[in-house]
């Protein structure tokens, strides 16, 4: 048993010729909550999908439980994925199934449990996220925060060792946000799982994460515990933590000279 349940080793990946990740190295110790922070479009979601083996890296590798993800065959890949539960950004609940059936879905598809046991398990999982009362609602009837929690119940349906969260706070009101925050920490400690949380909400992340990686321009720009980072003098971290609009990450996307373009012949 390796000490780090997930290890990312000099990983490079891009959807086309342009590389999104240029040699990222991270490690995720068992039982910890580790956050990955970075601006929109820096490839955070993609990174989670690489951990889940949905894409093949251009270079480097991801190891889960000591096994190289992209070298697995179909069966091995499915075995690895059974160890993970992923919470997608918008929940990704199956819209044609009720809340109950959504949570029951992985159990029905992947196990031979009898229906009575599935019923009890689903109600337990829903209770853990505080939504046992919503079991017969349809996903379209749920608010954003509730949908996210149902999706979380579904992600933990088969007791994974790793939970991947993709921007669990995006678009939530402050109360749902605090609830979700609490839930991540509680689930992590109660179930003894490892949590990998992709986010760009500085306040919340600093309050519950054990370790934080900052990603910028396809590399790890900074890393450390929340306390380390709060006192960091790195200009990039300072800008991100304090939410300043201009700094090492410029407000303007790279462009030609402003005056030339305004006065130029064909703009």
């Amino acid at each position: 048993m390796t000490q780090n349940i997930v290890e990312i080793d000099k990983l490079s990946f891009g959807y086309n010729r342009k590389l999104l990740h240029k040699g990222i190295t991270m490690s995720f110790p068992r039982g910890k909550v580790v956050a990955i922070m970075g601006g929109s479009g820096t490839g955070k979601t993609t990174l989670l999908r690489l951990i889940g083996g949905q894409f093949k890296p251009k270079a480097g590798e991801v190891r889960v439980d000591g096994q190289v993800v992209h070298k697995q065959d179909r069966e091995g890949m499915y075995q690895l994925r059974r160890k993970m539960g992923m919470l997608f950004q918008q929940g990704a609940l199956f819209t044609d199934l009720s809340v109950f059936d959504n949570v029951a879905f992985p159990m029905r598809e992947l196990t031979d449990l009898p229906e009575t046991m599935i019923r009890d398990l689903v109600l337990m999982k829903l209770n853990a996220v505080g939504l046992r009362g919503a079991h017969d609602m349809m996903p379209t009837e749920l608010s954003g925060g509730m949908a996210r929690r149902v999706a979380l119940a579904r992600a933990i349906a088969l007791d994974p060792d790793i939970i991947l969260y993709d921007e669990p706070f995006a678009g939530l009101d402050p109360i749902s946000m605090a609830v979700t925050c609490d839930l991540i920490r509680t689930l992590n400690d109660a179930l003894g799982v490892t949590s990998i949380v992709v986010t760009h909400d500085v306040e919340e992340t600093f309050s519950f994460a054990d370790y934080i990686y900052f990603v910028a321009d396809g590399v790890v720009a900074a890393e450390g515990t929340p306390d380390d980072l709060r006192n960091s003098t790195l200009p990039f971290v300072h800008q991100f933590v304090h939410g300043e609009k201009d700094g090492p990450v410029p407000f303007h996307y790279a462009a030609g000279d402003y005056k030339d373009q305004l006065l130029g012949p064909d703009a």
Binding site: R49, G52, Q54, M77, Y78, Q79, R81, R82, M84, M86, F88, Q89, Q90, A92, L93, F94, T95, F105, P106, E109, L110, A151
Partner: protein, 258 residues
């Protein structure tokens, strides 16, 4: 000029690529069908969605097509003094051609677009990704049951279309125009051949079922995961399916008649 050539070239490559990708999905669907056979409920649920919900549009269109056939047919046949042959004309036109073809065209518009939009949205809202991350294959769980449902539903709908069309033709020919009822049915019975007409019509509708459903599934599965991407894919489903049905009909008919 060079721009034009470039465009033609890149579009051609694009289309060929899509053809290959479609064929690949077709193959994957076939080898991932075990789940659909083991759990027939997955398929019956989709037969309901694609088949039962298309019943109204199919029945109403069939009724009108049958009535028009009888009117037009009578108009021409009476010039040659053979207006009792109208039953044969209506039945043959429906069973051989109009049943399978018109049903497939309506199916593409009613059920095909629904399939494309549904799969495209499932992709855009990450439902397919979520399934994959749960170690459940979206092809066995989502694509294959819909494929088999379409292949089952279309021939049934085409048979229904022919039946209701003949009923429509009967109502116009016999009570309205006054063709002899006995001649109408007996001529039809004597001249519609089981093998040559009915079986061939069924073969056509099965082939159209495979083509229409697969095109709808592929367009949805391949759609860019955005609102615009899904809406374009839906349009493409109708256009591609219609062209495919008409072209396949020509090919199949020429094999069957020669």
């Amino acid at each position: 000029m060079i721009r034009l050539l470039q465009n033609i070239g890149s579009n051609t490559i694009d289309q060929i690529w899509r053809l290959g990708a479609g064929a690949r999905l077709f193959g994957l669907t076939l080898i991932s069908s075990a789940e659909s056979i083991r759990r027939p409920r997955l398929v019956t649920k989709e037969v309901y969605a694609t088949g039962v919900l298309s019943l109204v549009i199919i029945s109403v269109s069939a009724f009108f097509v049958g009535m028009v056939l009888a009117l037009q047919g009578y108009h021409t046949l009476q010039k040659y003094g053979s207006s009792e042959a109208i039953g044969v004309l209506v039945a043959l036109a429906l069973v051989r051609e109009l049943g399978p073809v018109v049903t497939a065209l309506l199916f593409a518009g009613r059920a095909g677009t629904a399939i494309t939009a549904e799969i495209g949205l499932m992709k855009a809202t990450e439902q397919l990704s979520a399934m994959e991350m749960m170690a459940v294959s979206p092809i066995s769980r989502v694509v294959a049951p819909r494929f088999w449902a379409g292949v089952i539903a279309l021939p049934l709908l085409a048979a229904l279309f022919s039946m209701i069309g003949i009923l429509g033709g009967y109502l116009v020919a016999v009570p309205l125009i006054g063709v002899d009822e006995g001649a109408f049915w007996s001529q039809m019975q004597a001249n519609v051949d089981w093998q040559f007409d009915i079986v061939n019509g069924v073969i056509k509708s099965v082939v159209f079922g495979v083509a229409c459903t697969m095109i709808a599934l592929f367009e949805g599965y391949d759609a860019p995961p955005t609102a615009e991407g899904v809406s374009r894919a839906t349009t493409r489903t109708v256009v591609t399916s219609s062209l495919a049905v008409l072209a396949l009909d020509f090919a199949l008919t020429s094999f069957m008649i020669i």
